[in-house]
């Protein structure tokens, strides 16, 4: 355990994460020494220009992608392999089409050897939380995109991970569903007290959800600025008082977006 001055516990720390990609004939440096500390119970949103490697960074934290340099520390210990304590919610949900909704939610529990009744109890609880109880026995093709994302979140929560990693989970949703989920997400966070790292390109979204917003620079990315959002909860996206925080973030982000649009491959 690492103690900061405030006697909080650093749940996850990324030190000097560097990542290269092979693009046709040359290597591109995507991440250039990312340093990030996330305390237990924080809701961190990462924003940055398109292609800056936010998702890649998240996958590295999840252990699904390799890195050239740097380390990820979980509860003070270095981790490389993927594991159920850092569950990733994918952009497209990645629900399994051959399983029912509740079987999907129970997938990780089944792998972990948890007996059937317990599994059922857990999955019911989280489906309830996401208001999807009626669809427990449906197959995924029968769900709307918004519902699928809710199942994906339920599946992740059912694993009771220490850290929830969310990769632009609301990007494919219509505005109304997204707004509803923004409220739900805050409620879930308050209830479960999870540490969440949430990647998005939507600044308004980030400001509604986050305890702090981390701005990635353009490629090769570094952490440009961390903007703390100190505002009461629950936050509504139409709340005018959030505009100030949005501007603070945009001040850091805009130049990066401009620079980034110049060197798209």
């Amino acid at each position: 355990m690492v103690f900061t001055g405030d006697f909080q516990l650093t749940k996850l720390e990324a030190k000097n994460i560097t990542k290269y990609f092979q693009h046709e004939t040359h290597r591109i440096k995507a991440l250039d020494g990312i340093n990030l500390k996330v305390e237990d119970g924080e809701f961190v949103c990462i924003v940055g220009p398109s292609g800056c490697g936010k998702s890649t960074f998240l996958r590295i934290v999840a252990g699904l992608e390799s890195k050239e340099e740097g380390e990820v520390f979980f509860d003070g210990k270095p981790v490389t392999a993927t594991g159920p304590e850092r569950i990733l919610v994918f952009q497209e949900g990645a629900l399994f089409p051959w399983l029912t909704v509740s079987d999907n939610v129970e997938f990780g529990l089944k792998i972990a050897g948890i007996p059937k009744n317990e599994r059922r109890e857990i999955s019911s609880r989280y489906l309830d939380m996401m208001q999807l109880t009626k669809f427990a026995n449906s197959y995924t093709y029968q769900l709307s995109t918004g519902m699928k994302q809710r199942v994906a979140i339920a599946r992740a929560l059912a694993m009771d991970p220490d850290v929830l990693l969310m990769d632009e989970p609301f990007a494919a949703l219509d505005a109304q569903t997204r707004d509803l989920l923004l409220v739900e997400m805050q409620l879930i966070w308050e209830r479960t007290k999870k540490t969440i790292i949430f990647v998005t390109h939507n600044v308004a979204e980030a400001v509604v959800l986050a305890t702090k917003v981390v701005v990635f620079s353009n490629r090769p990315s570094v952490v440009k600025k961390e903007v703390v959002i100190d505002y009461r909860r629950p936050r509504l996206v139409e709340d005018q008082n959030l505009a100030k925080f949005q501007q603070d973030v945009m001040k850091e982000l805009r130049p990066e977006v401009k620079a980034g649009s110049k060197n798209q491959p």
Partner: protein, 257 residues
């Protein structure tokens, strides 16, 4: 099982018209009796081989060999397909070989089998296996390779690895594609068993057909052909087609939702 009355009526009418034309052609004597027998003669042959149990024994033997051979094909084919994935060099080479041998005529295996294995059940199984195994290897290889990586990531992230990853992710994710390979393998195996039985067996459906020919008993030849056609159709429609449909509907791939 929903039975569409219209479909049944169409099938029955088709069948009736077919038999009607057949009887008419026969009565007109367009072909000599020994080349084209009457529907009655075929019916007689059917009655004969049913009553002396030859037909049932033949069907039993043929299906028995077929099932054994096909199951071996599936088991071995899957293992080879997975090995092709694990060992990339082997995978590439084997992929070309499988493609070449996929449509290799099954009866061309017969002389080789007689010499290598022998003029016996094992020899027949060899022909059946060689004819169907490449459908399985190819479909295993491509099915598993085409599993969207995001599924694998999600499963691994949730703690699945090694055998549990294989059992809970790889197999179900590959199944819709696999079942297509299995259906194809089955039809190749069916071709192969009949051909092999005509050429190297003294029992079974293919042999009954062959006996008909040896003795210029066209009634028996046609009765055998009808039996072979019917069984092939029944297995495909009642078993494999339904299985494929069930999987597809669960995945939401079915056309009538």
């Amino acid at each position: 099982m929903k039975i569409d009355l219209d479909d049944v009526a169409n099938a029955v009418l088709f069948f009736a018209v077919f038999i009607g034309i057949w009887q008419l052609v026969f009565v007109l004597g367009i072909w000599p009796k020994v080349s084209l027998p009457s529907p009655y003669a075929v019916g007689e042959s059917f009655a004969e081989v049913i009553l002396n149990y030859t037909l049932f024994k033949g069907i039993g033997i043929t299906l028995g060999r077929l099932v054994v051979g096909f199951l071996i094909s599936i088991a071995l084919g899957t293992v080879i397909g997975l090995a092709m994935i694990k060992f990339k060099g082997f995978g590439k080479t084997m992929s070309s070989i499988s493609a070449g041998l996929l449509s290799f005529p099954s009866i061309a295996w017969v002389p080789f089998s007689i010499l290598l294995i022998g003029f016996n059940d094992a020899g027949i199984l060899f022909v059946v296996i060689m004819s169907s195994i490449f459908s399985i290897t190819i479909s295993t290889y491509s099915s598993v390779r085409n599993i969207p990586p995001i599924y694998i990531d999600a499963a691994r992230n949730m703690g699945a690895k090694g055998f549990s990853l294989f059992l809970h992710l790889t197999i179900p994710a590959a199944t819709p594609s696999l079942i297509i390979g299995i259906r194809q393998g089955w039809s190749f195996a069916w071709h192969a068993i009949i051909g092999a039985e005509i050429l190297m067996s003294i029992v079974g459906l293919g042999h009954i057909l062959s006996v008909g020919r040896e003795f210029q008993d066209m009634g028996l030849v046609i009765a055998s052909m009808i039996t072979i056609f019917t069984i092939g159709l029944l297995v495909d429609r009642l078993l494999l087609f339904k299985l494929e449909e069930k999987i597809r509907s669960r995945w939401g791939l079915s056309s009538d939702r």
